[in-house]
Symmetry: C2
Subunit: 164 residues, 2 copies
């Protein structure tokens, strides 16, 4: 299967991955959340080739995650901004960052520190249940596929069982 066919799968992770699933896109989005908006700035920070950057920005635009805005008339200049759909990726990037901080910096201070203005503390993101607000743990989650989902049938052994 090719990457763009992933968009047609009966699985939200597969569809999301078709758009976000490459190393530059995720890092690029992380930069968006830090306020980066311009081509040259992305290129300098990511150190990705200009062709690849162009294609990633285009894909994110096609999928409605970024919009190109003109910020100068003459000469015509554009920048990229997050749409609401893009802003809604904030939790994804935040949890990815939290995981990276945990496993790639361990006890050291991570390279980017974030403060929650609401409570005034430096924080990490964690994930919780929308219904009861408790932190989400793998062992408390039971997944089932919708009956008509023949593309991703349930696993025989049953999800989340048998130790490691």
């Amino acid at each position: 299967m090719k990457r763009d066919q992933l968009s047609d799968q009966q699985c939200s992770v597969a569809r999301s991955s078709a758009v976000l699933g490459d190393p530059w896109t995720l890092t690029l989005l992380s930069d968006c959340f830090l306020g980066v908006r311009r081509f040259e700035e992305f290129q300098e920070r990511l150190k990705v080739s200009r062709t690849t950057l162009t294609s990633r920005l285009k894909r994110l635009e096609e999928h409605g995650i970024l919009v190109q805005c003109q910020y100068e008339q003459r000469p015509p200049r554009f920048e990229y901004r997050l749409t609401q759909k893009g802003k809604d990726l904030f939790p994804v990037v935040s949890t990815l960052l939290a995981w990276g901080d945990k496993y790639y910096w361990e006890d050291a201070t991570p390279p980017i520190i974030r403060t929650h203005k609401h409570c005034g503390h430096d924080f990490q993101a964690y994930t919780a249940c929308s219904e009861c607000g408790e932190p989400l743990e793998l062992k408390d989650v039971e997944a089932r596929t919708r009956p008509d989902n023949d593309r991703y049938p349930p696993v025989e052994r049953g999800p989340f069982k048998r130790g490691s």
Copy 2:
């Protein structure tokens, strides 16, 4: 820059992306959380080429996210299981899934439904602040880079400002 050099960057998202940032890896992990463990089963569900699957499994193993366990002596057969580091990716996959459910299924029933055994309800994941427990919102977060982080200097315009 090449993908594996991302692992050396002063940015947790970049490092995480170096390992997870491709469409198959994320979908593969999602299947791991559904209980999938065997080569043939991954291959059949993901419909990815066998060579690519082999390389992804190898990478996840090298990074300590999966371990290969022998589940049968004769003939020797192996399966892949999540380590603790791998299980800690559950929030990442969960938020990615929540985003996909929101934007690719809108009001329809998403293809995979998850129940929180703790409270008994079907749920979606949301992300919160580790210090005060409030749901995390982009506008409440202020990010700063560690002073000695010359690789990812702060953005001039300041993070998270100026509307869209």
